[in-house]
Symmetry: C2
């Protein structure tokens, strides 16, 4: 099988080197060699020895190359990359990509064309690096109706939260170090505000539930507002704070949300630290399964790119194409479930309220919560004054609909004994 590689950066370079390093093993697994016959990149990668393989600076040369069976898109972005993928598919070539933004935002259109042309557009490498979680959802768990999934799918965010917990550091302090270490971009918005995670979550939800990609409807909340005290109080309640992507199937819709989340320290995913990724999937037959590994990195991501190539090669060897539909369900049998607005979701909550140290304040807060149908699960009032005679009132609630919590929060913030805004963090409960 002859492939053309577009992009020779971190993942592109890793893919090149992996196809060279494990050439023999890969051929033994798919029954035919996989050969890179053309590379397109603007810059050379010092880790790659092209060794006579044709090189071009124009990625569209690869699409026009009649010898190329599969185009690997690793240039990133959603402009040239989109044109490249659409033209490759139009030309009847299979595509393998690690581009989650492209798939999350334009996947519906790309998959429609791919189906029409009878080719595969594979994207395992876009989600959770080398962890084969798309394969698990579309194939390994295909007998299940998926109830929900939750993932730590951004390594930068998890590194920051892990450091904050382990060393009591502030968000800003750890972010600065992460930038120096190269874990975080100079503009960290994409990672720490949850946009990258929302791209990945959008794709996971679509293959889990068999629904069209609906990135524009995902709810996204970052971790930059998490204070060291929140991490500490969560710990006292027996929880860890993680930046989770959560997708949940409801009777008449789907919840799709990325936000900081308290998780019981008993749950395995609460113990996933540093830059590692993990996804928990709850299926109606299998129960909860978890998939863990490196969510990024040159060779880890290349592992998924090449696995997708092997799927295509094995089908080719059978004189066929990959029989797994892009979204796990046949295109004419997708589920008609829209993503619900964040006001409609239900969640338990962690609340931290800065109050004057007067008798009666707790009663007022509790009354407001009760009036909005919100039950308190546990509560702790700290004697430590934060400033100006204010003390923190910290509590966990039972599950409530988001809009009720919004109303209750407004009423609490209007109390004269309450200073500033109520800090709210959602809590994952065991039935989640």
């Amino acid at each position: 099988m002859k492939v053309g590689l577009c992009g020779l950066g971190t993942v592109g370079g890793g893919t090149f080197n992996l196809l060279v390093k494990n050439k023999q093993e890969i051929a033994a697994r798919c029954g035919m060699p996989i050969d890179i016959i053309q590379v397109a990149s603007r810059n050379m990668n010092p880790t790659c020895d092209l060794n006579g393989i044709a090189h071009t600076e124009n990625v569209f040369d690869v699409v026009r190359n009649p010898e190329v069976d599969v185009v690997i898109e690793l240039i990133g972005g959603t402009t040239v990359a989109k044109d490249l993928v659409m033209q490759a598919v139009e030309a009847g070539k299979h595509v393998v990509t690690a581009n989650k933004a492209l798939i999350a935002e334009y996947g519906n259109e790309i998959f429609d064309l791919a189906r029409e042309k009878g080719v595969t557009v594979a994207f395992e490498a876009g989600i959770a690096g080398g962890i084969p979680v798309i394969k698990a959802l579309r194939e390994g768990l295909a007998a299940n109706e998926i109830k929900w999934l939750a993932g730590i799918i951004n390594g930068t965010g998890n590194f920051i939260l892990t450091e904050m917990r382990d060393k009591g550091r502030t968000f800003e302090d750890v972010l600065k170090e992460a930038q120096e270490l190269g874990y975080a971009e100079a503009d960290p918005t994409f990672d720490v505000e949850g946009i990258d995670a929302a791209h990945k979550l959008t794709i996971l939800a679509s293959v889990a539930f068999g629904i069209p990609l609906q990135f524009e409807r995902a709810y996204t909340e970052g971790i930059s507002d998490i204070a060291p005290s929140d991490v500490r109080y969560a710990e006292e309640f027996g929880y860890r704070i993680k930046h989770l992507g959560i997708a949940k199937r409801l009777e008449h819709g789907v919840e799709l949300r990325v936000h900081p989340t308290l998780i019981s320290e008993q749950h395995l995913i609460a113990k996933v630290d540093g830059v590692m990724n993990a996804v928990v999937i709850d299926g109606d037959a299998v129960g909860q399964t978890l998939y863990y590994g490196a969510g990024a990195g040159s060779m880890a991501t290349a592992s998924a790119v090449v696995a997708d190539l092997i799927d295509i090669a094995r089908a080719r060897k059978q004189g066929s194409t990959v029989g797994v539909p892009s979204l796990g369900h046949n295109a004419d049998q997708l589920n008609d479930l829209s993503v619900v607005s964040v006001e409609e979701i239900t969640s338990a909550y962690y609340l931290r309220i800065l109050v004057q140290d007067h008798p009666g304040v707790l009663a007022k807060v509790a009354t407001i919560l009760s009036e909005h149908g919100i039950n308190i699960e546990s509560i702790t009032q700290k004697e430590t004054e934060e400033h100006d005679g204010l003390i923190p009132l910290v509590m966990l609630t039972h599950v409530v609909q988001e809009k009720n919590m919004n109303h209750a929060t407004q009423a609490i913030e209007a109390l004269e004994e309450v200073a500033g805004q109520v800090k709210r963090i959602r809590v994952a409960v065991s039935e989640d």
Copy 2:
């Protein structure tokens, strides 16, 4: 696609019920309905409503049924089950089975015939219940040379070790409870002596390394000798004791061994408790990934049986058959790696030695270890007398070859200050 179901016990009943419950979802995923057209079982399962589906007491009726495309073998054992599978393959039918003993002991012969006949024999359900770990190894991680894997692949054993740790109970005490709860068989040998785990490990190793199945060469050691004090001392060193199946690729062979193992409490697999299963896989590109979930149970195992059916149905829809070779590598490109004898393996060790509380004993023990090239990593001498003036000397060693440890152990046991046998438990080190 028309299937015949042989066996209507725990897994057979679950498979029947799952195919009924998720009929629509499954059809949407594979683009065609999967219909059970015949059931063979000696007894009825009260959870299953056959609703007019043909029933027979003779499993070979299913093989002779010309309408049946796929035979599901869930009768267990390696006698009738083997005849059933071989005859089904001979008749050109695909087979899905959850029978790890059958595959581990007779897989080479079964796969040879299946290849000759151009049919699939699928066995995901045989290993770690509904966790798609065979799919991960054969497909998701197919770009990697697998370096090693280690798994908690027997839920009964893990339940016992978890209870021993959490509550300081003895092996015998927990086993009795597990038998009462139905987690353990009246004859627990199969689970607690590691035979069941060795069946599963044999299969995992073969698909990981692309080697023929070599069950008869697996080394197996059970957990019945683990004392509460071992669990406690391990904990003091920062380790947990788990019953692991370990397969490691060497330069000129493969290690294949099931035994109690100390694992650093920092490792995610050390935190897998109760009846749950987990497998860690180390690939040269992807690094370590972990797969976790229920390793047994009616519906969890059925999830894997039906996933295998869906693979077959999807390939059928493409007018093809499943293109993934049984052992992940093409049959004519298997790796020629034999399982090495246990004397040849290398491991770090936990040692517990009962010694007389005299000065100089430690020096004698340390001298013997040193003479055999064994370095001590850490050591603790307990002041608590066990009985007759004897105290336990507990230590962790660096990595050493098993045969050196055998010689050193013999020499230590020959010391007049040492009572009884040296308790040895292997330790997984981070490079493992």
